[in-house]
C-alpha cells in the first residue's frame, strides 16, 4: 500500500496525457484520438483496480510533496489512498470507460470527434485527480478543472446558442458555490495552517488533529456551498437540467461519474470537518432537493431533462444519506446511482440516436419492439432508480438512506420527504418508460427507429448488470461496502433483514414504489399522447411543475436583474465618472500641447525666421554687384585705380 500510493498519481496522469496528446492531434486522426482516450482510461481503470485491491484490508496511505514556499510556510500537495478514494476511482474509471466506448458509436458522425475525446479525457483526469487528492488545494484545483471540462463539453456544440448559454450557466452557477468553497478553504487554512487531509497526525482530517481543533460550523457550511453548486442542490440546481444541451455521453459522464458526484464526494471526504449543525443543514438541503426535483421531473417532456431532474433528486438523497447516516450511506448510493444513471443516460442516448435526435417523449412510443436491447437495459436502470425491491441496486442504497433518516435524532421530516420522493421517482420514471417504450409509435422518426450498433449496446448491457448487481454489496444482511469504508469485517447475517425498523422502512418504501409504478402505469399506459392526464386533472399544479417552480424566472427577476442594474451602474460609473476624469486629463494635455506649439511657432521659429530673412536680404542686395558684365567690373577696377591714384598723390595730407 505504501508503494502503490507512490504511483497513484499515474491514475489521473494517464487520461491527462491522453487529453494533452489529443489536443495536439490534427482533427482527422479520429481513430488515434479515440484510441488514446479509451486506452488511457483503461490503464487508469486497471491501476485503480490494483489500488482498490490494496485497500481491501483497510487502512490509509498518503504521499505528498512540496509545491512552493511562501514565507516560512510551504504549500503541499499530495495523494492519498484509502477505501473512500479507491472505490470512487474504480467507479469513475469503470463508468468513464464504458461511456467512452459508447461514445465511439454515439459520436461517430460528429466532425469534432478528436476534440470530444480530448475533452472527455480531461474530464476524467480532473475527476480522478479530485478523488485521489490528499490536499484540499489539489482537490480544489481538480474541482475547477472538472468545472472547466464540463463547460467545454456542455458547450461542445457551441454553434447552438442554447448549448453555449447552458455551458455559461453551468460554469457561472457552479462558480457561485465554488466561491463559498474557496472562502471555506482559506478559513480552514488560517485556522489549521495545513490543507493536507492526512499527514501522519498533522493533516486537517487526522483524528487526533480534528479532536484538538475547534472546527467551526461555518467552515463546514462554506465547503458545503461548493458541493451545493457542483452537485446541483437547491438553490443552485438550475444549471443541471440546462446541461442537457451537451452530447448525451457528456450528460452521462456528468451525472454518473464526474461532475455532480464531486460535490457528494467532497462532503464525504471532509466529513470529519462537518459539525453536527453543518450535517443538519446538509440533511435538510438534501431532503428538500430530493422532493423538489422529483416533483419537477413529473411534468417534463424532454427525455434527458427528466433524467436530469431525477439526478438532482438522487443527489439530494445522497446528501441526506451523508447528513443523516454517514459517509458509507451516502457513498453507497453515489456508487449504485453512478451505474444506473450512466445506464439510463446511455439508454436515453441510444433512444435519441435511434430516433434521429428527437428528445421529446411525446414524439416517441412503442420503441420496445424496435430497440429490444436498449429497452431491456433501460428497464433495468429504471427499476434500479425507482428502487424495485430486492433485486435492484437502487433499492438497497436508497433504503439505507431512508433507514438512516428514520433514525435521525433531530427530525422525522426528512424521512417523510424521502418517502414522498421515492413515490414521485417511481411515478415519473414509469411515466417516461410508458411514453417512450410502450403504446403506439408517434408518427415521424419513432416509426423508423432502429436499434443502436453493438458498440453502444454492449456498454449498456454491462452497466445493466452492474446496476442490478452493485446493490448486493451493501445490503443490511451483508454490509460489506459500509464496513469496507469504515474499516472492519462484514458478517453475513440474514436476520438483520428482518430487524424491526429496517423491515418497516423497507416495506413502506416498497409499497410506495409499487403504488407509484402501478398508478403511473395505469394513468399513462392508456393515455392519449397529446395531453398529459395530469395536466387535465390539475392544470395549475402541472403548469407550475412544468415551469420548474419558476426558479429560473425568480432568478431572472431578482438576482439577474439586480446584477444587471449593478452592471448598468458600473457602466455609467465607467463611462461618465472614470471616462470623464480621463477625458478632462486629456483636454488638459491637449491644451498644454497647443500652448507649447504656439510658443514654438511664433516665438522660437519667429526669431530664426527673422534672422534668416535678414541674411537672405543682404545676400540678395550684394548679389546685384555681380551681374556678369565684364566691362563693368573693369570699369569699377579702373575707377578704383583712379581713386587709389588720387589718394596716393594727394591723400597724404589727409591722414
Amino acid at each position: 500500500m505504501e508503494t502503490i500510493v507512490k504511483y497513484i498519481w499515474m491514475i489521473p496522469a494517464a487520461p491527462l496525457l491522453a487529453a494533452g496528446a489529443g489536443a495536439l492531434l490534427p482533427g482527422g486522426r479520429r481513430r488515434l484520438g479515440a484510441g488514446l482516450a479509451v486506452g488511457a482510461i483503461s490503464v487508469s481503470f486497471l491501476l485503480s483496480c490494483a489500488a482498490f485491491a490494496a485497500t481491501l484490508g483497510g487502512g490509509r496511505a498518503a504521499s505528498h510533496f512540496r509545491w512552493f514556499d511562501f514565507g516560512a510556510t510551504s504549500v503541499q500537495l499530495g495523494w492519498v489512498l484509502d477505501p473512500l478514494g479507491a472505490v470512487m476511482a474504480v467507479m469513475v474509471t469503470l463508468a468513464s470507460l464504458l461511456i467512452f466506448i459508447y461514445s465511439l458509436g454515439y459520436m461517430a458522425g460528429d466532425g469534432n470527434f478528436t476534440r470530444f475525446f480530448c475533452f472527455m479525457s480531461l474530464f476524467a483526469a480532473a475527476m480522478l485527480g479530485l478523488v485521489l487528492a490528499n490536499s484540499l488545494l489539489l482537490f480544489f484545483i481538480s474541482w475547477e478543472l472538472v468545472g472547466l471540462a464540463s463547460y467545454l463539453l456542455i458547450g461542445f456544440w457551441f454553434q447552438k446558442p442554447a448549448a453555449a448559454a447552458a455551458a455559461r450557466k453551468a460554469f457561472i452557477t457552479t462558480r457561485i458555490g465554488d466561491l463559498g468553497f474557496l472562502v471555506g478553504m482559506l478559513a480552514l487554512y488560517s485556522k489549521t495552517g495545513t490543507l493536507l487531509f492526512y499527514d501522519s497526525g498533522h493533516g486537517c482530517l487526522d483524528e487526533n488533529f480534528v479532536g484538538g481543533l475547534v472546527v467551526s460550523t461555518a467552515i463546514g457550511l462554506l465547503i458545503f456551498c461548493g458541493a451545493i453548486g457542483k452537485s446541483g442542490q437547491f438553490p443552485l440546481h438550475v444549471w443541471l437540467p440546462d446541461a442537457m444541451e451537451g452530447p448525451t455521453p457528456v450528460s452521462a459522464l456528468i451525472h454518473a461519474a464526474t461532475m455532480v458526484a464531486a460535490g457528494v464526494f467532497l462532503v464525504a471526504r471532509v466529513y470529519p470537518l462537518m459539525t453536527p449543525h453543518a450535517l443538519q443543514v446538509v440533511t435538510w438541503v438534501g431532503a428538500l432537493t430530493a422532493v423538489f426535483a422529483a416533483a419537477i421531473a413529473v411534468a417534463q417532456n424532454d427525455i434527458k431533462r427528466i433524467l436530469a431532474y431525477s439526478t438532482i433528486s438522487q443527489l439530494g438523497y445522497m446528501m441526506m444519506g451523508l447528513g443523516a447516516g454517514g459517509v458509507a450511506v451516502g457513498m453507497f448510493h453515489l456508487t449504485t446511482h453512478a451505474f444506473f444513471k450512466a445506464l439510463l443516460f446511455l439508454g436515453a442516448g441510444s433512444v435519441i440516436h435511434g430516433c434521429r435526435g428527437e428528445q421529446d417523449i411525446r414524439k416517441m412510443g412503442g420503441l420496445r419492439k424496435r430497440m429490444p436491447l436498449t429497452f431491456a437495459a433501460y428497464a433495468a436502470g429504471m427499476m434500479a432508480l425507482c428502487g424495485v425491491p430486492l433485486f435492484f441496486s437502487g433499492f438497497w442504497s436508497k433504503d439505507a438512506i431512508l433507514d438512516a433518516a428514520h433514525h435521525w435524532r433531530f427530525s422525522q421530516a426528512p424521512f417523510y420527504l424521502g418517502l414522498l420522493g421515492a413515490f414521485l421517482t417511481a411515478f415519473y420514471m414509469t411515466r417516461q418508460v410508458c411514453a417512450v417504450f410502450f403504446g403506439k409509435p408517434a408518427p415521424g422518426d419513432a416509426e423508423r427507429a432502429h436499434e443502436s450498433p453493438p458498440v453502444m449496446t454492449a456498454p449498456l448491457l454491462i452497466l445493466a448488470v452492474l446496476a442490478v448487481g452493485a446493490g448486493f454489496f451493501g445490503t443490511p444482511a451483508w454490509p460489506w461496502f459500509q464496513k469496507y469504508l469504515e474499516g472492519g469485517k462484514a458478517g453475513f447475517d440474514l436476520s438483520k433483514l428482518l430487524d424491526g425498523s429496517a423491515l418497516t422502512v423497507m416495506l413502506l418504501s416498497s409499497a410506495l414504489v409499487a403504488v407509484g409504478i402501478v398508478w403511473s402505469g395505469w394513468v399513462y399506459g392508456r393515455a392519449a399522447r397529446e395531453t398529459d392526464p395530469l395536466e387535465k386533472a390539475q392544470p395549475a399544479l402541472f403548469a407550475c411543475l412544468r415551469q420548474k417552480f419558476f426558479v429560473d424566472e425568480f432568478y431572472a427577476a431578482t438576482v439577474i436583474r439586480l446584477t444587471g442594474a449593478f452592471a448598468m451602474f458600473c457602466d455609467w460609473l465607467d463611462r461618465v465618472v472614470l471616462d470623464g476624469a480621463v477625458r478632462a486629463l486629456c483636454w488638459l494635455a491637449v491644451g498644454l500641447a497647443r500652448l507649447n506649439r504656439n510658443v514654438d511657432e511664433s516665438v522660437v521659429n519667429g526669431g530664426f525666421d527673422a534672422g534668416t530673412e535678414t541674411v537672405r536680404g543682404s545676400g540678395e542686395w550684394m548679389s546685384r554687384f555681380q551681374n556678369g558684365q565684364t566691362q563693368r567690373y573693369l570699369r569699377v577696377i579702373g575707377l578704383a585705380f583712379c581713386g587709389l591714384l588720387v589718394l596716393l598723390l594727394w591723400g597724404a595730407s589727409w591722414f
Partner: protein, 104 residues
Amino acid sequence: MTTPLAHYLILAALLFGVGLAGALARRNAILVLVGLELMFNAANLNFIAFWRFGPRPEALTGLMFVLFSIAIGAAEAAIGLALVIAIYRHRRTAQVDRFDSLKG
C-alpha cells in the same frame, strides 16, 4: 637733342588711356582685346623708356624684359581670341555686354 623721358611717358599714358577707353567702351570683344593690347604695349613702352633713361642703359635688361613681355602678350592674345571664337560659336555673338553668365 634727345627727346626727354617725359615725352615717352606722356605718349605711353595717352596710349594707355586710348586702350583703356577702348576696352571699357567697345561692345565688340575683338575690339576690347585690341584695347587691352594697346594698354599692354603702353606698359612695354614705359619699360623701354625707363630702361633707356635708367642708370645702366648698356646692360640689355629692359630690352629682354620687354621681349619676354611681348611673347607672353602674343600668347595671351591668342588665348583671348580663341576664347572669343569659342564664345561666338556657342552664343552666336561677339558682343561683350551679352556675356553675362559670370554671375552668382
